[in-house]
Subunit: 216 residues, 2 copies
């Protein structure tokens, strides 16, 4: 039986809609009273694990799930050994550098050398500032990264932006985009190659249905 790892949170609804389009129903995860972390599709063809978005690549990398759905941002940050198969087009956002609207630094190259940048995306932020040869101290945070510049702890942040509402509410403006992100179908490379349980058929069906799901 195929096991798929699905991310809790914002992507879940679209993930479930996508699997429904190929005949697999994991909608029990959307039930507010649900406390189960693994369920089997009513047709008994596949199992789903409900895990944190950052944990999806872990379950797929270790082969505990043959397929999974994870944001491209997570894949860029954690660089897991998984196969990226399909761009699912939903969950779109971008990883951006932002500063206070009244900041004297209106481009990343103007940021002061050895200044501080707060981020949940430590690896991506490090990679970006290395690429422009700017020595920066990354302050790793778990949440509410916008507090970095507000409290004066950092000159800038590197954070995900989707609508831009959170930035605006906190008086921050984007000055650079590192990359654009969307949800990706990923697979355990060996399982995909060996193709037991007809994973490749399922992947082909999902690929065909992407536009169908995202246009809803």
């Amino acid at each position: 039986m195929i096991t798929v790892a699905l991310p809790k949170g914002a992507l879940l609804k679209d993930c479930i809609r996508l699997f429904q389009s190929v005949g697999l129903d994991f909608s029990a995860f959307l039930d507010k009273d649900n406390r189960q972390l693994q369920i089997t599709d009513p047709t008994n063809r596949a199992k789903a694990l409900l895990v944190r978005t950052h944990d999806v690549p872990v379950y797929v990398e270790y082969g505990q799930a043959q397929l999974g759905i994870a944001g491209y941002d997570v894949l860029r940050e954690k660089t897991p050994q998984v196969a990226q198969l399909v761009d699912l087009k939903f969950g779109t956002c971008r990883l951006s550098v932002a500063v206070k609207a009244d900041s004297p630094y209106q481009t990343t190259l103007n940021l002061p050398a050895h200044g501080r940048v707060a981020s949940k995306f430590v690896h991506c932020a490090r990679e970006y500032f290395d690429s422009i040869d700017l020595p920066i101290e990354i302050v790793p945070l778990y949440g509410s990264v916008e507090l970095g510049p507000i409290t004066g702890m950092s000159e800038a942040i590197v954070d995900l932006v989707s609508t831009g509402k959170t930035l605006k509410e906190n008086g921050l403006v984007e000055i650079e985009t590192l990359f654009y992100s969307s949800a990706r179908l990923i697979a355990h490379p060996l399982s995909y190659r060996i193709d037991r349980d007809e994973i490749s058929d399922l992947v082909a069906q999902i690929r065909n249905n992407v536009s169908l799901v995202t246009s809803q």
Copy 2:
């Protein structure tokens, strides 16, 4: 003005009660509609930041907050450069090793060499297994660590246990306790030493009120 960093989540209520006992009111953070991440006490003597529990030591280490409240578990995992001042006695829990109830490994020394242990506390888990000379692969997870043994990805987990309900619901049993944890009052070392804004008075008051708050 003193700034204190308070942790979102389970510890927040007790934190607010503690500061109320010394005349500082941050109860606006408990308002469900509150979206503010920083508020000033009505008496204008102190400001509070509302941040993730893992981010509290960061704000204190960088001096953006002179005081903060963080779990001992977080301090052990992140080893920030902060002064631990007072054991606040609330938020008690323990970091434990757990396995499936029917696991053949009923002590940590029986775990197979090069076996896998899933944990959010990567550093503490590594330190513990090093201390008993057992080579173990740590699988870093962000949440729902109990899925590790259930899916077969790991032989054991290292996770926080408070009531033990989550372990029980998932058919897991504790086989070892790494350490006991509770909330701690922490300070930015330099701010505490310089003692501007009479931080040490506030700390002394808090120390006196600990038993008062935890007995409620």
